[in-house]
């Protein structure tokens, strides 16, 4: 166990070796050896995937509908386009959702689409969309309808926003659209941005009902995969902290409309939602900082930071009590699991924050993360937000709308957050910050953005990690090679992995995976003729 195999630099060379020149140049930039973790070098990120490369990446629609908006369970979601996109995003993300109140409908169970046919491509699909919205309304009477454009919609020029506006006026419910055509941007990331803009324009701020809790926050960038949000809810509730809205896991439309009334935004997935945090601070004066409820240390740190933000002893003490109580349950598990996981290796290639977050959990298990990378992150997710000013906006990003937000004259000062922020900052408390993945990773580990199939194969060949965190498309490639693969998008069948109970789940799961004995079954006795004894013949057994 442990990282045997070549140095990261050598491995990088071996991975790049096969590429044609142009591809080589491109991939070189996206693959780096983390030589100086404290002062990370520049990495190529959020750039186009080379055509023909087998990538993990999806599209803008997947990022917008699939990731950010789709999980809002009481919005009726209509995909405008041919059937595929709506079909594939149907229940495939494991965003857990529980209906809160009798009479509600969980629209995540439904895949609704305009199922565009050839004539709509030729003659335009606006009437189709209009009819679909009307039929959806007649059939389900939802409180809001959200519309998602797919590739052909943009090309044929359907004005989905005009249709939404018209139908909103006609039906008297909130109806809005997202121009998240799949070709926009270079990955899901463009879709996140588009989604953030839409949520901000069409939901945030619609309901000024004051919130009731003493300490009110929003969790941004937590999608309740496998029930993560519920575990975070559980812990925060124990601490006495009230969540107004979780964007957007297991959340309702109303909660999002009311989210601007919270005292604080904490950000889980920086990549998918930092836009929202920024815009809400600008418009409403809600400060934000990054948290991480994945991993024991991350969870503890995040809880303490929230308590520190509110600054009241009662809360600070309560948080410590909760941590102590929870840890007493976790400790025996991790102590046991560690005896088997210590020194084992992992590699993580996934998402825009998880490849980072999950390193905490592996550290808890005393495992080594030998290589990691994101699927659709930007440079700041690797190098930290301080590089933001130096990121050049390229053609693919430029076409994603950048909203101009201004302070809301009436609602900016609703809470005394501005002063509190200032004084905390003076004491060294970091707001609006994210350090990125590279600073946490060990020196000379391998960092690969948008890892390709070839690189993954090579990585396994060279290092054979004990476990790889990745996505479903890689999963069985990796497993065929005898390495267990944990899907860190959907968690496969598992979760929650957030918080304390989630950590226990994860420890047990990784322990199971890295201790699996299935491998022993792979070789038939006739393939080990020299070593194995002849077919074992049982001794005579009689009654």
């Amino acid at each position: 166990m442990g990282p045997t195999g070549p140095s990261a630099a050598e491995a990088r060379e071996k991975m790049l070796d096969i590429y044609p020149k142009k591809t080589l140049r491109k991939r070189s930039k996206q693959m780096m050896v983390n030589e100086n973790p404290s002062t990370p070098a520049e990495i190529g990120a959020n750039s186009r995937t080379v055509p023909g490369i087998i990538t993990q990446r999806g599209c803008s629609y997947a990022g917008c509908k699939g990731v950010v908006i789709g999980p809002i369970y009481d919005i009726l979601h209509i995909t405008h386009g041919p059937i595929g996109c709506g079909y594939y995003s149907w229940l495939s993300r494991r965003n857990f959702t529980k209906i809160r109140n009798e009479g509600e409908t969980n629209y995540l169970q439904y895949s609704m689409s305009t199922d565009m046919q050839e004539n709509h491509i030729v003659f335009g699909g606006e009437t189709l969309l209009k009819d679909a919205i009307q039929e959806a309304y007649d059939e389900f009477k939802p409180k809001a309808i959200s519309v998602y454009a797919t590739c052909p919609v943009g090309l044929i020029g359907d004005d989905i926003h005009a249709v939404c506006k018209e139908m909103k006026a006609k039906l008297g419910i909130n109806i809005f659209g997202f121009s998240c055509e799949g070709y926009k941007g270079v990955s899901q990331s463009a879709g996140h941005h588009i989604a953030n803009n839409g949520v901000f324009k069409n939901m945030i701020g619609l309901d000024d009902t004051p919130s009731k809790g003493e300490y009110t926050i929003n969790i941004l960038g937590e999608y309740n995969i496998g029930g993560d949000a519920w575990e975070i809810d559980r812990i925060l509730a124990l601490c006495g902290i009230k969540i107004i809205g979780t964007l957007s896991g297991g959340v309702t439309y109303d909660e999002i409309c009311n989210a601007h009334m919270a005292d604080l935004n904490v950000v889980m997935c920086h990549r998918s939602i930092n836009y929202m945090a920024e815009m809400m601070e600008t418009k409403f004066g809600i400060p934000w900082f990054k948290v991480n409820f994945i991993g024991l240390e991350g969870t503890k740190k995040s809880l303490r930071k929230i308590a520190q933000y509110f600054g009241e002893k009662k809360l600070i003490d309560r948080v410590e009590e909760v941590i102590a109580a929870e840890m007493s349950e976790v400790r025996p598990v991790i102590e046991d699991v560690k005896t088997r996981t210590n020194g084992k290796t992992a590699a993580l290639f996934v998402g825009g924050s998880r490849a980072h977050h999950y390193q905490d959990l592996f550290e808890d298990m005393e495992m080594k993360v030998i290589a990691a990378g994101y699927e659709f992150a930007h440079r700041d997710d690797y190098e930290g937000r301080e590089v933001l000013p130096s990121i050049k906006v390229d053609a693919d990003s430029r076409n994603i709308e950048e909203l101009t937000i201004e302070e809301d004259p009436e609602r900016f000062n609703l809470r005394k957050t501005v002063d509190r922020k200032k004084s905390l900052e003076e004491s060294g408390f970091a707001f609006s910050d994210y350090e990125g993945m590279l600073k946490q990773m060990k020196k000379d580990t391998l960092v690969i953005d948008d890892i390709s199939h070839h690189e993954m194969e090579k990585l396994i060949e060279l290092y054979k990690p004990d476990v790889i965190g990745s996505g479903v498309k890689d999963k069985y490639v990796i497993e065929k090679m005898g390495v267990p693969c944990k899907q860190l998008h959907s968690y496969d069948y598992g979760g929650p992995y957030a918080g304390f109970k989630g950590a226990i789940n994860f420890f047990k799961e990784i322990d199971r995976m890295t201790s699996s004995r299935v491998w022993e079954l792979t070789r038939a006795p006739w393939h080990e003729a020299d070593e194995a004894p002849e077919a074992t013949v049982s001794e005579e057994v009689t009654a």
């Binding site: 096969i18 590429y19 044609p20 995937t49 080379v50 055509p51 023909g52 490369i53 087998i54 990538t55 990446r57 599209c59 629609y61 997947a62 209509i78 041919p82 059937i83 595929g84 709506g86 594939y88 149907w90 495939s92 209906i99 409908t105 629209y107 439904y110 895949s111 609704m112 689409s113 305009t114 199922d115 046919q117 050839e118 709509h120 491509i121 209009k130 679909a132 009307q134 039929e135 059939e139 590739c151 052909p152 943009g154 090309l155 044929i156 799949g182 070709y183 926009k184 941007g185 270079v186 053609a395 693919d396 996505g471 479903v472 498309k473 069985y476 490639v477 065929k480 090679m481 070789r523």
Partner: protein, 453 residues
């Protein structure tokens, strides 16, 4: 579960709710994977390729690789030629396939990329290594369904590869239709049993059901050999299983190479399997071995023994048109009644054909699960049959549910065991009776639980 669904059936013209189909490219991708040494290539936005790979992966629980042209907005405006050319270069360099099967997406179809020309230019400019092949199929997502895509890819095998000329070998081309690798394996077993020489195209067995042995092969040993795809042109007869999935290829092979073509129903159930076996026998002028007769006889025996449990049970069926067509016949053979049978794939002709053979069945093409669900609320059935998505309806209405067809995301048996053939039919009889018995064992009052069934 599905709490928003009411019993009020409204006609919908625009809104699809809970589809019973998906889009063409995934079918083309699956068909292409059934060719030995083939890399399927999705010409469009990378999201399509990602979705198709994910979905196929979940169904087969196997590696599914395919490449994409990774369109960005630029390509969508200026055309995908540069992307495809660059993709082909990368693919042949890095992944070294024997053949690349390009299929289009709605994106590249709407912008009107001319794939044959792009391929031609790539060949001319030396981007395609000597001896390697690139073929293509047009698979716009706004036409047909995943079955159409499969069909179009099969037709492309013929159009690009089947050789013309007068040589005729005593060999039969079999187009299996959009069925599972386990089904393709069973189709081969049946053909071998009847003693005919055959080419199965495509053949995803030993591609999408490979062993777990510590080795990953991007191109597993299975798949129809390219040489066999060329040979198709010299076969005596072609048999296309499943009219929707295989007619295009059969027709094309007849037109291009003069290979006499037959279309048969998917061999699901007794008579449909008979039809296939007999077609093989006639085409190959061979005999059906006694052991296959005996296997068939065991199926009939099982049907006879279980008929009391099946008699007049009302069944709701959904799935792909060829599957549904055979399943209507099969449940009828079993003494059951198909109350409703729907497919998501458009097909007015299919609808007419189904209505003609099953006048008492509510038949709908271009329909969806929401319609099926609402119809069932108004017309209760004893059994629901269809793919994984049916389980939500089954749970909502508390109906016994037997899975078949594509996709199967939540069970494992379809990977190992066929639906087609006599063996597949026995398996279905088992599954159907189990569904009833399991429910009875669970829910009947104590005094009605039976020891012997």
């Amino acid at each position: 579960m599905l709490e928003g669904t009411t019993a009020e059936l409204r006609e919908r013209k625009a809104l699809r709710v809970n589809p019973a189909k998906t889009c063409q490219p995934i079918g083309a991708m699956y068909a292409a994977l059934g060719v030995n040494g083939c890399m399927p290539h999705s010409h469009g936005s990378q999201g399509c390729c990602a979705y198709h790979r994910s979905h196929l992966t979940r169904h087969y629980k196997e590696p599914v690789v395919a490449t994409t042209s990774s369109f960005t907005e630029g390509a969508s405006v200026f055309g995908g030629m540069a992307n495809l050319t660059s993709a082909l270069e990368n693919i042949f360099t890095i992944y070294e396939p024997e053949i690349v099967a390009v299929h289009t997406t709605c994106l590249s179809e709407v912008i009107g990329d001319d794939i044959p020309t792009i391929i031609k230019k790539a060949i001319e400019s030396g981007k395609i290594p000597e001896g390697k092949t690139v073929i293509h199929a047009n698979t716009p997502s706004f036409v047909g369904s995943h079955v159409t895509g499969f069909s179009n890819q099969c037709e492309a095998f013929v159009k690009y590869l089947a050789e013309t000329g007068d040589t005729r070998k005593n060999t039969i081309t079999i187009f299996p239709g959009f069925v599972d690798p386990s089904d393709m394996r069973e189709i081969k077993r049946l053909a071998t049993a009847v003693g005919v020489e055959f080419i199965l195209a495509p053949d995803a067995s030993d591609v999408l059901d490979t062993p777990y042995d510590g080795h990953y092969k991007m191109y597993p040993d299975g798949g129809t050999k390219i040489s066999d795809l060329r040979e198709m042109g010299h076969t005596m007869v072609s048999i296309g299983l499943g009219p929707l999935a295989s007619t295009a290829a059969v027709t094309s092979l007849q037109k291009k190479c003069g290979v006499e073509g037959k279309i048969a129903e998917l061999p699901i159930g007794v008579r449909a399997t008979d039809e296939f076996v007999n077609a093989l026998r006639v085409a190959g002028d061979t005999a059906v071995p006694a052991w296959l007769d005996a296997e068939r006889g065991r199926l009939i025996d099982m049907i006879s023994d279980m008929s009391q449990y099946l008699h007049k049970k009302k069944v709701a069926i959904f799935g792909d048109p060829d599957h549904v067509s055979s399943m209507i016949d099969f449940v009828t053979e079993l003494g059951m009644e198909a109350s409703i049978a729907i497919t998501g794939t458009p097909g007015k002709k299919w609808e007419r054909k189904m209505k003609a053979k099953a006048p008492n069945t509510e038949v709908k093409a271009f329909s969806d699960l929401h319609y099926l669900h609402q119809w069932i609320k108004n017309n209760p059935v004893d059994l629901l049959m269809g793919n994984t998505y049916g389980k939500y309806v089954a749970r909502a209405e508390d109906i016994p549910f037997v899975r078949f067809g594509f996709p199967m995301l939540d069970r494992v048996g379809h990977r190992a065991f066929p639906l087609v053939g006599y063996a597949g039919a026995m398996r279905m009889v088992e599954k159907i009776t189990d569904a009833f018995f399991d429910r009875d064992d669970r829910l009947l009052p104590d005094h009605e639980v039976e020891l012997v069934q």
